[in-house]
Structures are given as structure tokens and as C-alpha cells.
Amino acid sequence: MKLKKKIPLIDQHDKLGFWGGKFGGSYIPETLKKPVDDLTKEFKKLRKNKKFLKKRDLYFKNYIGSPTRFIKLENLSKHIGGAQIWAKVVSDANGGAHKIYNATVHALICKSMGKKYIVGDTGAGYAGKMLSMAAKKFGLKCKIFMGAKDIKRQKPNCDAMRKNGAEIVPVTTGSQTLVDAVSECMRYWVSNCDTTHMCVGSTVGPNIFVKICGWSTAQISRELKKQIKEQFKKIPKKIKLINCVGGGSSAYGFWSEFIDYPKSQIELIGVEAGGPKKSKLHAAPLSRGAKLGVLHGAASYVCQNNEGQINETESISAGLDYPGVSPIHCFLKDTKRARYTYATDEDALNAYKLVTKFEKLNPSLEPSHAFAEAIKIAPKFNKDTIIIVNSCGDAKKDRDILRKRLGRKI
């Protein structure tokens, strides 16, 4: 299994859609074959279409607000000591998280395919909120599938979705979280694929959805590469790019421009959700040795039992609370280009406390997992090492959890 250079990772799959010969693919019911094929053809065409690219860039700039900031966390770096800690503040983006890139691109594709309805899944509610925003912007009717448990714990994002005119469909099966929301959304699409476009909220699902999402979030690293060069005059010798990984869309977007660099120069570190310290449950298939399995139309490492039933997961962060992970991260893991680890709920909360104490930054619980790793490893290096964390979401949506766990108002 080998990575190719100079080809975007999203395109390094074989004819059947597998990365590294075994990750990804399209395990879908026959009914979805045609809509998936149509979408594949449309995307292939659009990504070469100059007019479409111009449109994308225009919306990225004027609607999403690119570029997002790249800042040094001076106080935090000083307090921790060791490496310099920087942040790419992707939560600056319209709506407060990286999910807006994928949502905007899907809305543009939906328009271009002449469909009027768009549906999507959501965990933390960001993917849903952004899709509802994009749908409103482009005049599409929008339905969001969300686990009943997540609806309760991410209320601010639900309010936003409703305000944008989207219908939230509560999913009450299984663990009532993202995994069930994705299943229900796919089931809805099976029944309505003739009129409706589906947006998968992360770099998961059948091959084409991994590609579209990765293509969209790649904007993050295009900006970052420029910003690093501006800041340091050239790409520094020792960089560590740390990103939380649930499905893995922000991590892929954060890394895509840097994958061809040698590992010794730019290390890629993915941080999964380790769940509560005392719980056996987690949402960390890559770092805790889950087996290869098929979930939601793709083969990836999946938290599951010996029989192939999908395990329940647990994490304080709804956005990372998912038993599977993107096939491209499985590929990056097995080729050893990226390193994956996990942070527990408690680690993430502590990191959140520390970051907000020292910096004017309010990372949501998802990137707080990445900050936990940054804080952990920074002292092992000196200031020649540049650690960059993707602060990919804003904590406004987490206010109820943070109030409960930290007793503080944000």
C-alpha cells in the first residue's frame, strides 16, 4: 500500500472506489447505484468546469469568508513551553465551522443537477446547520436527520437549523446519535433519490461523498499553505498539524496540501474521541485498533463486535461520536503518513479550559481534542517546532455541556 505523489488523495482510488485496495468503495443498495453514478459524473464534470470553480471561489470568499485566520497562540505557547502553538481558526468561517465548505459545494451541485430538495445528516449539528444555511442561500428545501440524543445536547445548532427553514427529523433508533442519523438519511435517499440530493456531512459514505467532501474542505490547507509561507517566508523544517478526527473531513481538509511533504518535516496527527476516561466505550476506531468493516456504504476501520454489529460509541463531542471513520484516514494510517491517537472527554475539557484561559479563542469540544494533544506534546520540543491546530469549530453549540461540566457560562 503506497501513497502517490502529486495526485490529490481523494483521487488515489481504484476503479471500484477503493483506496489502498481495501478502504472505501460503494456498498450501496441497487436503487442508489444510478443516483450515485449520476452524481459521480456530475462532480467529475463540474470540478473541471472553470465557471463552476469561479463560482465556488466566489462563494468561499464572499459567503464563507476565506481566508480564515492563522494565528500564534502566544500566551498558551509561553505557558506550556516548548514548541510554538499556532491555530488555524477555521471557526471564523460563516456559521462557525468547516462544515460550511462541504455544504456550500453540495448545494451548488444540487442546483446544477436541477434538484430542488437536499437532505443531510448531522451529529454536532454543524453539518446540519451549514446545510440549512446553504439551502436557504440557494433556495433549496432542506431536511436534516439528527439523532434524538444529539438534538438534546446541541440545541443551539438545532435552533439555527429551524431558523433557516430546515426541517429536523429526529432519529430515535439505535443509539440516537450520528450513526443512526446517517442510516436514516440514506434510507430517506433510497426512497426519494429521483427528486432529492443527499449531502453526507463528512468524508465518509460511498466513495463519491468522500471525494466531494474532501475536495470542499481542502480549501483549508490551500489557505494555510499560503499563510505559512507568508508568515515564515518558507515552509519551516518542523511542523506538526494536529486535527481532531470523527469522520475526518476537517482533518483531510487541513492536511491535503501537505501530504506530499516528508513526514520528518510535516507530521500529521489525528486525534480521535477516547470517550469518558472510565468508560469502555469510545469513538476511536483508528487509534484503538478497530477492525475493518463496512458501514454506511464504505469499508473502513469500524467500532464493531465480532459479529459485525456496529458498536455504540460514547463521546462528549457529538461531532466525533461516530463508530466509523473516513477511508482516506484508514489509508493514511496504514501507509503510516499520519499518526492517530485519542483524547478522553476529560482531556478535551481540560484543554478547553486552558485554551480559553490564555487565548481569545473558543474552540468547540471537537477541536479541544486536538488541543489536548498539542498541549501534551508541545513541551517535548523547542520553539523551532511549529504545532498548528485546526480550530475547526466554535463552542457556542456546546454551551449547555460546558455549563454542566465546567459550571461556567460562555
Partner: protein, 266 residues
């Protein structure tokens, strides 16, 4: 022509009726009860589809999901599914058995192991909902080598060109999904339209046994009886749920429903 699945269709044809296929979830609501249900409906059924329940079913509607969750909650394992099939096949009135489920369970069990176990349990065919053509080519071939029929699925969205290729690679039976829906949806397409699509498929290869499934109930089954076979699943799962809710015996109730279904097409 001595394949049990082909034989079942032949028998039904002799009697001038479509074959009746039922779908029940193994272990719903218990291992014992699901075997009893199979035994009691067997006399009216030509082929029994038995579902191996999965907790992340992306193509099943509410009724079958409920049955599957119920079975999983009751601790059903794949080995139990095979045991149920095996015990059913041992009975005097048994019918050909087709197992139906999602690929991850076969993948975790190991394709070869799974097929070996199918063979030793007397399973005759397999339907894998999320393993479409051409992804299923290799596995379908393996099935054939093990004398297990791999059932290809076709849907209203399948292009004509694709239909031809899939049918060419198909085994004893093909399955036409009546409409864009998960299992158990209300029939939102007219039976006439369904049959016209069905006839298109038959035209490509008249010799292949083609069944129609999804959305078929007591109300709609008679209108589709010109097909080679008809599958009823959700309506049966629904009856099990109803019986349990009313504290009635699902075995006798399901048996009655199946008898009625059979009556409507005889």
C-alpha cells in the same frame, strides 16, 4: 434443473400461480418462535427468505428494523441464524431457504466460512442488500462454486444496459425492487407500471425466475400475480409486532396472514 429454487418456481408455475416468498427475521421475536413461524407458514410458502439482523440497516424500513432490533436485543448470533435455517430444513415440509442481510456480517464471518456454513445448514441462496453489481461479481462466483444461488437485485433506477449485464451474471433467481423505497413502504407505483418494468426484465431473459418485492401486502398481492414470484416481508414483520403488542401468539397470526396471501394468488 434440480436446483431447489428453480424447482420451487417450476412447481408454482405448474399450478398457474406465482411463487410466494416470505421474509422473516431470524430470532424474531425469539429463536424458538422464529423457527416455529417458519414451520407453520411453510405449507403455504414456496421459498423462505430469512433475514440475519443487522443494527445499521441502510435499506430497511421501520417494520423490518423493529424486527431486527428485537432479534438482536434477544441475543441472536449468526450461528443461531444458521441453526434456525438448519432446523427448519430438517423438517418434513421445509422449503428452499434464502438468507438475506448486509455485507458486513458476511465480511466479519469471512466469505468462505460463511458459505461453508450456508452449505452445511442447507441454505440455498443469498441476498446481500448492500453488495451491488459489479462489486458482487467475485462473491457471486464463489456462491456459485458452493452451489448457493446469489440473488441479484434490480430496481426502477437500473438502466437498461445495466439490467442486461446484471441479468447475464445472475443465477437461478433475480429480485426486482418494485419502487424507490426502503422495505415496507407503501406501494407508490401502480401495479401496472411495476409489471411493465418487470416485463422489460423478462424480455431480456425469459428463462430467469424474477420475483417482485417491496411494498407487497394482502391488498396489493393479487394485482401482481402474473409475476414469477412475489415477496412479502414487512407485512409479516408488522404482524409479529402487532401480535406481541396485543399479547397474542405471533405464530398463529402470521400463519393466518400467509394463508391469506397464498389464497389471493392461487
Amino acid at each position: 434443473m434440480n436446483n431447489p429454487i428453480s424447482l420451487a418456481f417450476k412447481n408454482a408455475k405448474k399450478n398457474n400461480r406465482p411463487a410466494l416468498l416470505t421474509y422473516t427475521v431470524a430470532g424474531d421475536n425469539t429463536k424458538k418462535k422464529s423457527l416455529e413461524i417458519l414451520k407453520s407458514i411453510s405449507k403455504n410458502v414456496d421459498i423462505c427468505e430469512i433475514g440475519f439482523p443487522h443494527n445499521t440497516p441502510i435499506a430497511d424500513g421501520g417494520q423490518i428494523q423493529t424486527s431486527a432490533y428485537r432479534a438482536i436485543k434477544n441475543g441472536i448470533k449468526i450461528s443461531d441464524v444458521f441453526q434456525i435455517a438448519k432446523n427448519f430444513k430438517k423438517t418434513k415440509n421445509s422449503k428452499p431457504v434464502i438468507l438475506m442481510g448486509y455485507y458486513n456480517m458476511i465480511y466479519q464471518y469471512g466469505e468462505n466460512n460463511f458459505l461453508k456454513k450456508c452449505k452445511s445448514s442447507g441454505v440455498n441462496g443469498l441476498i446481500v442488500v448492500d453488495l451491488p453489481w459489479p462489486e458482487n461479481k467475485k462473491f457471486a462466483k464463489k456462491c456459485k462454486t458452493n452451489s448457493i444461488s446469489f440473488v441479484q437485485l434490480l430496481s426502477p433506477t437500473t438502466s437498461k444496459e445495466r439490467l442486461k449485464k446484471i441479468i447475464k451474471d445472475s443465477h437461478e433467481m433475480i429480485y426486482y425492487i418494485s419502487m424507490l423505497s426502503t422495505t415496507g413502504g407503501q406501494l407508490k407505483v401502480s401495479p401496472k407500471k411495476i409489471l411493465s418494468n418487470y416485463n422489460q426484465i423478462k424480455k431480456i431473459d425469459p428463462k430467469k425466475n424474477c420475483v417482485i418485492g417491496f411494498g407487497i401486502t394482502e391488498k396489493t398481492i393479487a394485482k401482481l400475480k402474473s409475476a414469477d414470484g412475489l415477496v412479502v416481508g414487512s407485512a409479516i414483520c408488522k404482524e409479529i409486532t402487532r401480535s406481541l403488542n396485543n399479547r397474542q401468539n405471533p405464530v398463529t397470526n402470521v400463519s393466518k396472514v400467509v394463508a391469506k396471501l397464498r389464497n389471493k394468488i392461487s
